[in-house]
């Protein structure tokens, strides 16, 4: 069985998940003062670089 992401929507999904992780990372670092926020932040940067 092969799972496939619709190509038309792939870039939208990348953008949505990238911005979502960016919000979580910034929230954790700036609001919660939790350095572990760099993990979602790094993931967000990775996804957004992959997107563009």
């Amino acid at each position: 069985m092969a799972i496939k992401i619709p190509q038309k929507k792939k870039k939208t999904y990348q953008l949505v998940s990238g911005i979502g992780f960016l919000i979580i990372g910034l929230y954790m670092i700036l609001s919660l003062k939790d350095v572990r926020g760099q993990i979602p932040l790094g993931l967000a940067i990775g996804i957004l670089l992959w997107r563009f």
Binding site: M1, K9, Y13, M28, G37
Partner: protein
């Protein structure tokens, strides 16, 4: 070969309804079995829970971006890309478990402290990861998994709000 599409193309009302029902069943099971239900949430217990922004991030933003990333990209990587590029057929269960391990690791590393305090653990997050993967397979959409994830995060957040006040 069956082809599965992981999109939000189907009837979103029906998908959301099934996601809600599955989420409520898991919350109910979580009352009986302690290892079922809770997934880690980005939360610092020292800070009060009366902020709307915090609710939006934990209940709305986190489930959407996590499910889209893990259940779309990571699951399709294990299920489709490995088979296509390395010519190794990976059974769906193996892909689901590997995705769940990555999902669980992310929760443990990123939200670690709050994971244990919110009643979640590596095992419970991994178990839910497998459930989400099968939801995606069953409904051919990530939407039910997003709604279930929202229900679980909301149940944990509301339980903490009651405890902390």
């Amino acid at each position: 070969m069956t082809e599965k599409i992981l999109g939000i193309d189907r009837n979103w009302i029906v998908d959301s309804f099934f996601g809600l029902i599955i989420g409520l069943v898991i919350v109910f099971l979580g009352k009986i079995f302690s290892f079922v239900g809770a997934i880690g949430i980005p939360l610092n217990l020292a800070i009060s829970l009366d902020d709307l922004g915090r609710f939006l991030i934990i209940v709305i933003v986190a489930p959407i971006c996590e499910e889209i990333f893990f259940r779309n990209f990571v699951l399709s990587f294990f299920d489709d890309k490995i088979e296509k590029n390395f010519n190794i057929k990976v059974p769906f269960f193996v892909g689901a478990v590997l995705t769940a391990v990555v999902f669980s690791l992310f929760h443990l590393l990123a939200y670690g402290g709050s994971l244990s305090s919110a009643g979640g653990s590596f095992l419970s997050a991994g178990l839910m990861g497998i459930v989400f993967a099968y939801e995606v397979k069953l409904f051919k959409s990530v939407l039910p998994a997003i709604v279930t994830h929202m229900v679980l995060n909301f149940s944990v957040l509301s339980a903490l709000a009651v405890i902390i006040g």
